[in-house]
Symmetry: C3
Subunit: 139 residues, 3 copies
């Protein structure tokens, strides 16, 4: 059993951008010293999230609409009083979706469904440089 | 420390069916070679989710109502344009709830609360055969 | 690789109290026998949740408002028929947010963002004594 820490880095365009990171997670796992275990994909930040989705153009429009239903951009947020950067909704959405996803793998392959991709969701209002942590634990 | 991969298989009846899988996860953990660690319960698919709930008849009606509030079935989804299978809301709900849950165990027992069960939630509109992954890491 | 099980205990004041547990998780990790790995923070109960948030006074008001949008306190819940304790919404919110969070660490430090704290969210309507499990797996 070993622990390996890897990082995925990329730039985003602001809200709501859904970025498919499946290939990069798959590559990190396949290059690890282990063949089976779990990879924890973690967002070190309070305005991004990670989940899975069928990555196709329709859902890339639908899911942001659902986020707008849940936590509307222009609802008026107290968070605004601290930073004045108009991203109270970004924070609320991120806390709801969560910063962490754990995916199992065997034979160096992620055990995902055929139509299931791992995505980072940029919820912040402005472009950001993001570093996502991959913590791989396996044997 | 070892990794063990197990699978739970069952058929579902379509949305929104909430299935208590606690006993099967508990059994898998108790039969493993390890006594303490974590089990990651993972749904390989984009229209199902896993979480915990107090498994009693009232909440089995309440929670689907909340999902309908968040992501209504008949809102009109762009996803429809690709597949025409009427399950855009299923995808959005699944991405929100998430496909992965990690539960600790010691002395071969899951560390759940008394009124807390592990559930798979079928969000797809039609009956499905489901295979849920249990990745057990412990010593 | 080892597994260590630790516990955080505290009293809460009822809904919706958001409690910063970052320092206590950090301390548990720093005192463990390991230097890198993952810590699974788990709520053994069906009316509490764990996530991350920027812990500042504005968001501590905003996030409960979002929870009220999603699962209103006075919507009328079937759960009420069983227990008559007025916490149907607490259960629905907890199932949505989830009881489990996995955070990576290296060099005995959690890999959190600068403005990101780990929080327990008390969703139950009354004060509770809470025991949160920390399952630390690392080397």
């Amino acid at each position: 059993m070993t622990v390996e820490t890897k990082k995925i880095s990329f730039s985003t365009q602001g809200e709501v951008q859904i970025i498919d990171i499946t290939d990069r997670v798959e590559k990190a796992v396949s290059e690890s010293q282990t063949t089976s275990g779990i990879v924890t994909i973690f967002v070190p930040g309070a305005t991004g999230a990670v989940t899975t989705i069928e990555y196709e153009p329709g859902l890339l429009k639908d899911f942001p609409k659902i986020l707008e239903r849940i936590s509307p951009k222009n609802m008026g947020y107290e968070h605004e009083l601290r930073w004045h950067d108009g991203n109270g909704h970004s924070h609320c959405r991120a806390s709801l979706l969560g910063p962490s996803l754990t995916v199992p793998y065997t034979q160096k392959k992620l055990l995902l469904g055929t139509w299931q991709q791992i995505v980072f969701i940029e919820l912040d209002v402005r472009p950001r440089n993001r570093n996502i942590i991959l913590q791989i634990i396996g044997e």
